[in-house]
């Protein structure tokens, strides 16, 4: 299924999905299917994603409403949340974000950076330069990333390649 919003949301949220399995909100079979879909570059149906990741979807709705974005199920709303407001939700301790360890709060922030190097091996790893320095992130679910791309990392997973306009809006990189 091709749903660009669903697919990008899956890339942002999947690193947390193991916790949902542990909590019993997602079955192991659903988790495995989510990962298989990610690896195939396909989205789950929107209704299932809204059930799997209700907090993220709620925040997308809230941010969309505040910013006058008509459709919360859009890349515009997704970016307004994850790239614009996610850190503020973390700092405010919204929902279970408030229960994270300090180091996990930092891990959970979305970072925008330029791919300096792609290292192919058992795992595809990207060296990324952000405004906070260089970091290594996994490219497992973003296999099209290449040197020079501007990407987002969330919890050390590359989540998407940004176009120039979106990158400029949310993350002016220092040269």
């Amino acid at each position: 299924m091709r749903d660009p919003v669903g697919l990008v949301l899956m890339r942002y949220a999947f690193p947390c999905a193991e916790i949902s399995v542990r909590l019993g909100h997602i079955t192991q079979e659903e988790y495995d299917a989510l990962e298989a879909a990610l690896l195939a570059g396909e989205s789950f149906p929107r209704t299932r994603l809204e059930r799997f990741f209700p907090a993220a979807v709620r925040r997308m709705k809230e941010v969309a409403e505040r910013e006058g974005i008509l459709d919360y199920w859009s890349l515009e709303a997704l970016h307004a949340y994850f790239l614009g407001e996610h850190t503020r939700y973390i700092d405010a301790g919204d929902g279970m974000l408030g229960e994270m360890m300090a180091c996990e709060k930092d891990l959970c922030r979305c970072r925008i950076g330029e791919v300096l190097q792609v290292v192919e091996g058992n795992e595809m790893v990207l060296r990324v330069r952000t405004n906070e320095g260089e970091e290594t992130v996994l490219g497992r679910y973003l296999p099209t990333a290449k040197k020079g791309d501007i990407v987002v990392s969330h919890r050390r997973f590359a989540t998407e390649i940004l176009d120039g306009e979106t990158a400029a809006r949310y993350g002016s990189l220092r040269t």
């Binding site: 690193p15 909100h25 279970m96 994270m100 360890m101 996990e104 050390r156 997973f157």
Partner: protein
């Protein structure tokens, strides 16, 4: 849902690029490509079978203590319920 449980590294296989992480109730293998300097005794966060962060020891111990405390409260109010670090912690987030 961004509420990972720290585990303790009990074995590192540098050749395979993996580590064995102990969660008290079970042990799991995870990749170390993002944290090549991880050593036995480190507390770590694992996502999608990869270690993504080494956790400062005090933060890990505080988190585990809070988890045990929550488990004890749950046991008190729901005898026979599932406890341990893999038990229900409620809520979802991302």
């Amino acid at each position: 849902m961004c509420l990972a449980i720290p585990g303790k590294v009990v074995k590192v296989d540098a050749e395979k690029g993996t580590a064995t992480v102990d969660y008290e109730v079970e042990q799991r293998e995870a990749g170390t490509v993002l944290v090549p300097d991880v050593t036995v005794g480190d507390y770590v966060l694992v996502q999608a079978k990869m270690i993504v962060q080494v956790v400062p020891e005090q933060q890990a111990l505080d988190a585990l203590a809070a988890i045990h405390e929550a488990d004890e409260r749950r046991e008190k109010w729901a005898p026979g319920g599932t406890g341990g670090v893999s038990g229900d912690r409620g809520g979802r987030d991302a």
